[in-house]
Subunit: 348 residues, 2 copies
Amino acid sequence: MAEQQPQLGPRKGAVLRAVVEEYVRSGEPVGSETIAEHAGIGVSSATIRNELAALEELGYLKHPHTSAGRIPTDAGYRFYVDSLPAGGGLRDAQRRAIASHYAEAILDLEEVLKGSVQLLSRLTQYAGLAVPPNASEEPVVRLEVIDMGPSVMVLAVGHHGRVDKRVVDRPESALPATFARAEKRLAGLRGLTYAGAQARLLQLAAEGPADEHELMLHVAETLRTAQQGDRATHVVVGGVANLADEAQTWRRETLRRLFETLEREKEMLQVLSDVTSARGALSVTIGGEHPTTGDLDASIVAAPFKSGDTTIGTIGVVGPTRMDYVSAMASVRAVAKRLTELATELDQ
Amino acid sequence: MAEQQPQLGPRKGAVLRAVVEEYVRSGEPVGSETIAEHAGIGVSSATIRNELAALEELGYLKHPHTSAGRIPTDAGYRFYVDSLPAGGGLRDAQRRAIASHYAEAILDLEEVLKGSVQLLSRLTQYAGLAVPPNASEEPVVRLEVIDMGPSVMVLAVGHHGRVDKRVVDRPESALPATFARAEKRLAGLRGLTYAGAQARLLQLAAEGPADEHELMLHVAETLRTAQQGDRATHVVVGGVANLADEAQTWRRETLRRLFETLEREKEMLQVLSDVTSARGALSVTIGGEHPTTGDLDASIVAAPFKSGDTTIGTIGVVGPTRMDYVSAMASVRAVAKRLTELATELDQ
DNA sequence: CGTTAGCACTCGCACGATAGGAGTGCTAGT
DNA sequence: ACTAGCACTCCTATCGTGCGAGTGCTAACG
């Protein structure tokens, strides 16, 4: 991550880092004096002032007003994050919290995600987010069409434990016998992936008897939405109360918009996919780097988790741009790693 | 509801109602002058002042400080709510919004609830809440134990469309053939209620072959948690962003605690059951009338919805004690009524 | 006797002025 | 290249202070 970092010279870098760290800690604009004293740079405040002015010129810092200290811009945070060492940063207490959280084995991936999101929100004091696996590559272990009188329930069970259900109007053509035949035919799809089964189903619907036609289309549709996620996938959100904490920088109105956005699952799904597709492992999106976070003065730290080699989901945290990136990144990295181990294991 | 209303005399009642309405509208303490002018009571502000002092003495009003107007206490709101006429209060726009929301038929009760909660939050500008049906009396239409390699998925499908799943460790004794036999036996339970099926299962587990024993117990446990709701039932919450609105009276810290509470599903479940068990139809809980709402300066307006004659769930809104009770009560009443129609219909 | 006009009194709050201080930016000296 | 020194800026905390909303009391009125 640090390769394309703009050259600032080592001292400018150190000063910028010091400003970010101090500002994140205190929430107050940082002055030259503070840095000269606390950060271990062996120069006077006057020199720091020159550096600060230069950093402001370069767009890394800004000034609320003339006689105040400096605050990092999004670009300033970006430099800071990119200059962080790759690993570590986990405090002992956090390490222990993670270990004990996963001590008790839970087999249902959905439950695991909910727990992990809660864990992350507690570790970081921000809100946790997760996108559960997309179904496309998951093998189907069961497909059913259940006759419920005036309606029909279509049920799909995936190999990793997902269950997708859908209730639809009962086709007029369907007789009790139709269901039995359809289920037999559906049993033949066991083992195919969601994507594969969906394709095969469209074929079956066309070839098969007329009374099964509509039923099969409903099953195919169920499989489709399960893959698409725009309807079926629910973003898991937890610990939102943390965002309302007094310590957070948000104004009331921004806070309201933040909560609104968190409730719009579709948008969150989009944001999270934008955010992770960009980079391989841990990704950090700072304020204006994404339109949604920009509007909210928010940052997202997220990482994919995998089963074996394929990415199956994303987990992370949302917080203010003035975020403790070190702690957030370390926590997300550790939890994603743990989830990858778990998912790989659940998959045998 | 209005029977046991303490006698205040008609004018005191009118004054108190005027204070509540004005305070809810403006958010500012209400003075005698305002009432004398706007509320259609034909007396001077001096007389109103006497009434106000008396109402304060009686505990219905309070005073932020000597030279400010009056604010209703919880008891004041209670009097106001109890004195409201039983029906009506729905504005035309709201009535239309409700009608159009339910115009499109949705068959899945869970989805309907999510939608209804959103609708309520939009109608009232508070947060919507719902407790989905408890499974006890619902007939089971399908029970399955699915062999997923190292684990087993237990699946129960209810007649109203609920699906409960549970992933457990695979019992060592279970062979592939065990699953087939077990599923056949489980098919025999179709049509029993969750409660009935659970009882029967414990019997089957005892009588049946040893290799099925553990499997059956897992199924029984799945049915049990589905009924209990302390694990399985998820309170549906929506529109929480409304609570962060600037217009709401909450301080930041109270807001944080409110969000925290809303995330604790178990507590919310408890609150909602406390709140509705008390009264038959529409219930209003104001601030200190319940410990949880008291801590949060919040009120809850909720109503049960039924299928036929049996109550199957609860829906309502949470807002500040300074709430527009008329609108909230009318909206909740209307939505609950609509839900009852829908649920009764879905049940044939 | 309930109601009302009148009025003194209270008290929070918005407002303006002021002092203090944090922090800058510049200059000159090392 | 760095630093000490210093004038300057501009925010913010503080303190009166006056205003006005609103009360509560009293005395008069029908």
